[in-house]
Amino acid sequence: MYPPRFEYEAPETVAEAVGLLVEGHGSAKVLAGGQSLIPMMKTRFASPEMLVDINGISDLEYHRRDADGSIRVGALCRHATLEQSQVLADHQPTMAAASALVADPIVRNRGTLVGSLCHADPQGDWAAVMASLGASVIAQGPTGERVIPVQEFAVGPFQNALAYDEIAVAAVVPPPKGKPEGGYLKMERRVGDFATAGVAVSLDRSAGGVARAGIALTGVGPRTIVAEEAAAILVERGLDPDSIAEAARAAAGAAQPKTDHRGTAEYKRHLVEVFTSRILKRIAGSSEEAA
């Protein structure tokens, strides 16, 4: 498979990279992990005139938890790094759960969380996880930074909200409003396959209740779906068998699946209900155990 001709630049600073994007005026694409972009170029579904390879910008290769409890993931932080991250294991269970389920081990070695958000594939795992956490993307352009909530970041299938001269330099998860709990479950026909359906649940628990809840769905709509009604049920009523069942039904109701070779619409909706319920039951069960 042979991609069409393209120019290649490897800047060493973000400012330099932004300069190249300005020059390219819409014909340039940023290359981070390349796990989606390169196959698309080889199959000629994408044909950028220029690749701006940011892998030389070492400033972007980090993830950390800041003093206020927020978690920040740089544009070059690989999935594999997150999979092995003690920071996530200790402080962010939804991300920790998802990090081992993204694509396959080979893709995880190269691919990045921020790149996955930029790719805006409705079947991408990180978009649902980050949406459930109320996270944002930090975009840097020639005039400075702006913060874009993940929910507004994907504007359609494979379309993000970045201007042509902006680079997504990081994703930021806001500080939790209690003890963070959560999980991510997805159905895939095979490791590395895109999700048939996936559910991300993030709860901040305090004083036996739910201070904040986020539920987001992978692969069951034209973009990542945030199940707001389901989350509201949990905040209002806490975790009990009835509220869990109702929230699971509400999450299934929010899904907008289509029948395809990964399964029927009905089945995908059913999976959302099962997965939501399973994650919530596990959280409820483990806090009972702790008590």
Binding site: M1, Y2, P3, P4, R5, T43, R44, D104, M187, R189, R190, V191, G192, D193, F194, T196, K258, T259, D260, H261, R262, G263, T264, A265, Y267, H270, L271, V274
Partner: protein
């Protein structure tokens, strides 16, 4: 003097490490794409984006104008040389490059030859083709409708889309069996289309030298000699001026038996340009245009007595062949060896009808680790037997025992007329059942159900015909199915062995040397094995259908025995006794009355060049051509234990037990590797690996994102057991093994899932047994049949 230890010299039964792996694991293999010739150009193929359309015009002017483009070839270029169509091995014709219309998505339309592959690809995209759409038929039922558009309007005497109607067996006898039955069990099945997808795609480098008139083609082929014969016949080139070289081959699985348009066009391009022309197919090209497998429908009926005895079997099959009937299968039977079904059961009467149909899909049908539809045969057989057990309320192991051919009943003539050679079927099944703990399983299953868990065990038992052919029933273009070996013993006792087979990963370089070690007592490491070059290897029919050991392997034994016979005369001469007084033990001749006086095979070899008896022709070489008296009939019992998640339909393999009887095992490690590979592919068929099409004829499965091959993550563990019933008609008692697990395995997995849900009223879920289909079956208590849905909305 103690006799040689056969295991130590790497003879029969030695799990010798694969000698070819030395280069493969170091990245030093030599595949077609590794080869670069001086002045070599690159070819890319333009393929049709639509499945059925008349070609209104092809404008190549922009491609010609691109710098670096040397040649653009269309169907018109070929038609001028009478090469636009080529014959297939099934006596049909196939378009090389489309001239009149395109008949499937991915069909070859034009080729560009350029200085580099990037330019060639760019130029392909610059070719403008105007299409006039025609109705698309993606299954045989659409293609058989009244007034359906004729796909093969190029053919006279082809009024519709039916390729053939064929039948075999005893129609009247079967009729009578059904009249006497206590119960008739029925099932409808679809074995979905799949693709062998070797990791190395197809490709060739054609190098025509005007000065010598010699055409050398490096080619990804499993059968280089057949290709040479085909090129000689089709292109009318002198056969001695054609050299086909199949270098290292990165997997074949039957995908690399047919002749593909890319090969043909690269050869013509080299002749026209007088330069080497390389064509390497991309992944999508391989998946959407080259030899696929299966895609066949069954209506099966079984006449049963109350005690489980099968009185008769009826099979009505419809095979979807795609746009051309290009099965690369050498049997005299239109539907291949589909009627090898039920060979392990003693059944009084059987009848099979088969219809082949053209559709707007890629041609092929018999590839993928399969002896010409034995995979479908055994899957249908074992699903029918399982259904019969459910209908009778009988234990699925017991119904098999009741119907097995008995150990003392060989050779056995099957209801469809094959002659099976040997086996111990009940012993194999019982060994497997014991290994998986079948005795206590039903209780375990019952208790699990009470706790809401669904467990199932699935059994698949079968014997299959491996090792085409025997020249009475098998030929390719009239060439009888035999095979060959040429063995040269050098004067220092080292050897060079060449065969007409072609390894694609099977490990011939290792196992062939072991056969020589067994026959002559030469250490296996002293034997170099070469295959794949038609200028050096003796004529052979290639490697597929698990035929290498049954046929070429036998030829190696026979060649080695010729060597031994001559060496015995030399030994008698050296020992100064008459030949009758010479005895043989592994690696050494000795005098019967004085065993301490002997001559090693190496000493005899030296004497063949330095001290031969008067009047004896010098040298120690032999060639043998082996025409097998019959196919070999390995047997297998595969037993899977699964757990089904009732909420999601996901099923996990808890255990998979395989009992294989492939006769004498030459290299047990390689045999086990073959079985594990086959079981992996069996699991793939059952769970995920299929190609389907949407209503417009778009191939769903044109890359590895959509066409799923299982990885180490999904593949279950396998527990292997063996039984050895030597093949009575093979020189070393070996039977084929390469395909067994891929053939017999799928039914074990499907039967296991069905066993877990049959109490809900479910008797069938067609493959692939995807979680959503299992969930639907559980929820509705009904069968889930047909190809999975592709797109129903938006």
């Amino acid at each position: 003097m103690t006799a040689l230890d056969e295991i130590k010299i790497g003879g029969l039964g030695a799990s010798r490490r694969r000698v070819e792996d030395n280069r493969f694991i170091r990245g030093k293999g030599n595949y077609v794409d590794d080869i670069t010739l001086p002045g070599m150009l690159h070819m890319e193929i333009l393929r049709s984006p639509v499945a059925h359309a008349r070609i209104v015009s092809i404008d190549t002017s922009k491609a010609w104008a691109m710098p670096g483009v040397r040649l653009v070839i269309t169907g018109e270029t070929l038609a001028a040389r009478n090469l636009a169509w080529m014959p297939t091995l099934s006596y049909d014709t196939q378009a090389v490059l489309a001239t009149d219309k395109v008949r499937f998505q991915g069909q070859e339309i034009a080729a560009v030859i350029a200085d580099d592959p990037y330019t060639a690809k760019d130029a392909c995209e610059a070719i403008v083709v105007e299409y006039e759409p025609l109705p698309v038929m993606v299954n045989p039922y659409q293609a058989m409708e009244d007034g359906a558009e004729r796909i093969r309007d190029d053919k006279e005497n082809q009024p519709d889309n039916v390729i053939y109607d064929w039948e075999v067996g005893d129609r009247d006898g079967t009729e009578r069996a059904f009249a006497e039955a206590d119960l008739v069990s029925k099932i409808q099945l679809h074995y979905p289309r799949s693709h062998p997808s070797p990791i190395e795609t197809c490709g060739s480098i054609a190098d025509f030298n005007r000065a010598t008139q010699k055409l050398t083609v490096y080619m990804t082929t499993q059968a280089p000699h057949i290709i040479r014969a085909a090129v000689a016949m089709v292109a009318e080139l002198p056969e001695q001026m054609i050299r086909i070289i199949a270098p290292d081959i990165g997997g074949g699985f039957g995908n690399k038996v047919p002749v593909y348009p890319g090969y043909v066009v690269s050869i013509l391009a080299s002749i026209l340009l007088e330069k080497p022309v390389k064509w390497i197919e991309d992944r999508t090209g391989n998946l959407i245009s080259t030899g696929f497998a299966r895609d066949i429908y069954l209506e099966g009926e079984m006449a049963l007595r109350k005690d489980g005895k099968i009185l008769g079997v009826r099979m009505n099959c419809i095979a979807d062949h795609g746009a051309f009937f290009s099965d690369a299968q050498p049997s005299k039977f239109k539907i291949g060896l589909l009627h090898s079904a039920f060979a392990c059961y003693d059944i009084p009467a059987a009848h099979l009808t088969a219809r082949g149909v053209y559709t707007n899909k890629a041609p092929g049908g018999v590839a993928y680790r399969c002896s010409f539809r034995v995979t479908e045969a055994m899957f249908f057989q074992e699903r029918m037997v399982e259904t019969a057990a459910i209908d009778l309320g009988m234990d699925p192991a017991e119904i098999r025992r009741v119907n097995f051919v008995r150990d003392d009943d060989f050779p056995h003539r099957t209801a469809f007329g094959f002659l099976t050679d040997s086996g111990q079927y009940t012993k194999c099944l019982d060994l497997g059942l014991e290994a998986i703990g079948y005795d206590t399983f039903r209780q375990e299953q019952e208790e699990a159900r009470k706790r809401g868990r669904l467990l199932g065990i699935g059994i698949s038992t079968m014997t299959e015909p491996l090792g085409a052919g025997n020249s009475r029933e098998f030929d390719i273009l009239g060439i009888k199915m035999f095979d060959s070996a040429e063995l040269r013993i050098h004067m220092t006792g080292k050897a060079l062995l060449r065969t007409g087979a072609r390894s694609q990963g099977q490990g011939h370089e290792t196992t062939w040397a072991q056969i020589v070690a067994h026959e002559l007592g030469l250490p296996a490491e002293d034997v170099t094995v070469e295959e794949g070059d038609t200028d050096t290897a003796p004529f052979g029919m290639g490697t597929y259908a698990s035929r290498s050991t049954p046929v070429a392997g036998a030829a190696i034994s026979m060649a080695a025995r010729k060597i031994r016979a001559k060496a015995r005369k030399i030994a008698a001469h050296l020992l100064e006794v008459s030949e009758e007084d010479v005895e043989w033990e592994l690696g050494r001749f000795y005098v019967r009355s004085r065993p301490e006086q002997g001559v090693t095979i190496q000493e005899a070899a030296m004497a063949a060049y330095s001290n031969m008896p008067d009047g004896m022709e010098p040298g120690l070489e032999a060639i043998a051509y082996y025409d097998p008296p019959n196919l070999t009939w390995p047997f297998a019992a595969y037993i899977a234990k699964v757990e089904v998640d009732p909420e999601t339909g996901v099923w996990d393999v808890l255990r998979m037990v395989a009992v294989d009887d492939c006769g004498v095992r030459i290299n047990p490690m390689i045999v086990e590797g073959q079985i594990m590979g086959g079981l992996t592919e069996a699991y793939a068929m059952a769970s995920m690996q299929y190609i389907t099409f949407d209503a417009e004829g778009n191939c769903i499965g044109s890359n590895f994102t959509d066409y799923l091959l299982p990885t180490a993550w999904e593949t279950p563990g396998f527990e292997l057991h063996e039984v050895v019933t030597p093949c009575p008609h093979h020189p070393i008692g070996a039977k084929g093994i390469g395909e067994c697990a891929a053939v017999g395995g799928p039914a074990a997995f499907v039967n296991a899932v069905i066993d877990a849900v049959k109490h809900l009223g479910v008797k069938n879920i067609d493959m692939p047994v995807l979680p959503d289909r299992v969930y639907e079956a559980i929820k509705t208590g009904k069968d889930v049949s047909g190809a999975p849905p592709v797109r129903t909305d938006g």
